[in-house]
C-alpha cells in the first residue's frame, strides 16, 4: 500500500463517522453542509441548523478527539518500538499509563472536576516516566534493558498507588468513576479541551516523524547509530519525551485506550515497510483512522455507548493475532 492512500482512507472514515449515529445522515448531507459553509450550496436555515448541530456540535469533537488520540498512541508506539528495537513494545513501556491512571484516580478522588482529572493524569504520566528513567540511571548507564526495568518498576509503583486511591475512594460515587475512566471513553471530550491538546499532540507527532531517519539508525544498534553520526542519547531521550508527552495527553483526554499503540504500528509496517520516516506518518494516519472507526462502533453497536477502550481491545486482539501470523517469518 502507498503512504499517499492513507489520507484518503482517513477522510473516508471521517465522513462515515460524521454520518452515522442515532440520527443517521447520508454522506451527501456532510458535503451539502460543507458546501453551504463555503457558500456554494443553498440550504434552508432549519436544515442548516440541524446539520450544524449534528455535525459540528455533536459529532466533530469526538471524531477529532478519536483521530488525535489514535494518531498520538500509534506514532508513540511506533517510535518506542524503534527506540527499544523491539516490535512488541507499546507506549506504556516506561510506565506512562500506570502514572496517568494513578493521576486520573487521584483527580477524581480530590476534586472530580474534569480539567483537574486531565491535568493530574497528564502530570503523573510524565512523573512516572521520569521515575522510570531515574531508576534506570541508578543501575548505571541508562541502556535499553535498564530503561525497560525502570519502566516496569515505575509502572508497578503507580499501579499499587492506584490501588490505594481506589481503596480510599467512595465506593458509590468515585470508585465507579475511576473504573469507568480506566476503560477509556471519548464521551466527555469537548472542543475546548481539544483546542488545548491538539497543538501539543500534533507538534509531538511531527517531532517523532522528523526523528524517523535517526530512529532507523538507532534500530540497528547504539554503536552503529553513533558510527553513522547520530547523537544516540539525545535522540533516545528526545523521542522518549515527545512520545511520553503525546501518549500522556491522549490518556488525559480519554482514559486508557489499549492495543492501538501496539497493533497499528505493526499493521502500518506490513503495509509500507519499516523505514521510520514513512512508518511514523503512516502509523499516525492509520491510528487516527482506526480509532475513529472504533469510536463509530462504540457509539452505535448498542443503544448505550460502550467504552472505546473495550472496543479497541476486542478489535485489537484478533488483529494482533493476524499480524503475528504474517510477521512471524521475519522474527524466526
Amino acid at each position: 500500500m502507498r503512504l499517499a492512500l492513507l489520507p484518503f482512507l482517513l477522510l473516508a472514515v471521517v465522513v462515515l463517522a460524521l454520518s452515522v449515529g442515532r440520527y443517521p445522515l447520508a454522506p451527501g448531507d456532510i458535503f451539502a453542509y460543507l458546501g453551504a459553509v463555503l457558500g456554494l450550496v443553498e440550504l434552508s436555515p432549519e436544515r442548516f441548523d440541524l446539520l450544524h448541530n449534528l455535525i459540528v456540535e455533536i459529532r466533530l469533537p469526538r471524531v477529532l478527539a478519536a483521530g488525535l488520540i489514535g494518531a498520538a498512541l500509534s506514532a508513540s508506539g511506533a517510535s518506542f518500538q524503534a527506540v527499544f528495537r523491539n516490535p512488541l513494545v507499546s507506549p506504556g513501556i516506561l510506565g506512562v499509563l500506570g502514572g496517568a491512571g494513578f493521576g486520573a484516580a487521584l483527580g477524581i478522588l480530590l476534586s472530580g472536576d474534569f480539567l483537574t482529572i486531565q491535568l493530574s493524569a497528564f502530570a503523573m504520566g510524565l512523573v512516572a516516566v521520569g521515575v522510570g528513567v531515574i531508576v534506570a540511571n541508578l543501575f548505571g548507564a541508562a541502556s535499553m534493558v535498564t530503561l525497560v526495568l525502570g519502566g516496569m518498576i515505575s509502572g508497578a509503583l503507580f499501579t499499587s498507588a492506584l490501588s490505594l486511591v481506589k481503596y480510599a475512594a467512595d465506593p458509590y460515587d468515585q470508585l465507579p468513576a475511576i473504573v469507568y475512566w480506566m476503560m477509556g471513553s471519548l464521551g466527555a471530550v469537548d472542543l475546548k479541551q481539544l483546542r488545548g491538546a491538539a497543538l501539543p499532540i500534533l507538534a509531538g507527532v511531527g517531532a517523532l516523524a522528523a526523528a524517523g531517519r535517526a530512529l532507523d539508525a538507532l534500530s540497528m544498534g547504539d554503536d552503529e547509530a553513533r558510527s553513522l553520526g547520530v547523537p544516540v542519547h539525545a535522540t533516545r531521550y528526545g523521542v522518549i519525551i515527545a512520545a511520553t508527552l503525546v501518549s500522556s495527553l491522549s490518556v488525559s483526554l480519554a482514559g486508557m485506550i489499549g492495543w492501538v499503540g501496539l497493533v497499528v504500528p505493526h499493521v502500518a509496517r506490513l503495509a509500507i515497510g519499516p523505514t521510520n520516516s514513512r512508518l511514523l506518518p503512516a502509523s499516525a494516519l492509520l491510528g487516527a483512522t482506526f480509532l475513529i472507526a472504533a469510536d463509530c462502533v462504540a457509539r452505535n453497536i448498542t443503544r448505550a455507548e460502550i467504552p472505546i477502550g473495550v472496543v479497541t481491545e476486542l478489535l485489537g486482539i484478533p488483529a494482533f493475532i493476524l499480524v503475528l501470523g504474517r510477521a512471524r517469518r521475519a522474527w524466526a
Binding site: D223, E224, R329
Partner: protein, 270 residues
Amino acid sequence: MRAPSATAQLRGVDLHFSRGKRSVLNGATLGFGTGEIVALLGANGAGKSTLFRLLLGFLTASSGEVRLDGLQLSSFSRREIAKRVAYVPQGHVTPFPYTVREVVTLGRLPETGLLRAPRAEDREIVESVIARLGMERLIDRPYTEISGGERQLTLIARALAQGARLLVMDEPATGLDYGYQLRLMRHLSDLTADGHGVLVSTHHPEHAMQLATRIAILNEGRIEADGAPQAVVTAERISRLYGVEVAVFDDPFGARRLAPIAGRNGRAEG
C-alpha cells in the same frame, strides 16, 4: 589523481573503568591509514573492541591521544568522524525487516544529516556500492532474511556508501563460510588498492597473515608487536598469546601456516 592519505592513531592510550580499578588499555599505541590492511590479533577479552570504540570516538581515553588525520579526535563532531571512519560490525539481525537497499542507504546519513531525504545522487552511490560488491540480486530483499555472509557484505556496502576512507571492522570473518571468507578477503584487498585503509580484528592468525599488510598484537592492554606479518607471527608468540602450543611453517606455495602441536594442548587449555 590520488587523494591525500587518511590516518587514525592511538598514542599511549590508557583506559580505566570503575574509577580506575579496572584497566583495559595501558599505553596502547596503534595507527592505520589508507592503502593498508592492519589486522589486530588478541585473545578473547584482550580489549580489541574497546580499542575500536576509542578510535571511533565512542569512548574517551583516560589518558593518551587519539588522532584522526593528525588532529585530535575530540575536535571533530560525531558527523565529521562518520565521514572519515566507518564502522563495520559483525553481521547481526535487526528486529525490523529493512531491505538491503534501506540498510545501505543509512550509510548516507553523515552526508545528508538526519532531516534531509536521500537525493538522486545518494541513491546512485548506494546502487554503485551494491553493484561493486556484486549484490544486485539482494538489493530489495529484507536484511532479516538473507544469509550471515550476505548481511556482512551489506554492512560493508553501508560503510562504503558512507564515503569514509578508513574502515574499522569487528571480526568480519566470524560465522562466514569458506567461500564468503575468501570473497571478503578479496574485497578488502580491492578496497586498499583504491585508497581505503582497513583495521580489522580477527580470531584467526592465518586469516590475518593472508589478508593483512601489517599485524598488531594486543596483549595485557598494550600493543606488544606491530609489523610485517612474517615478523610478528612466530610460534613462540602465538603459543604464549592463546595459551596453546603451535608450530609455524611455510607451505609449498610460500604462505605462512600455523598448526597445533599434537598431544601438547590439553582439553583444559583448549
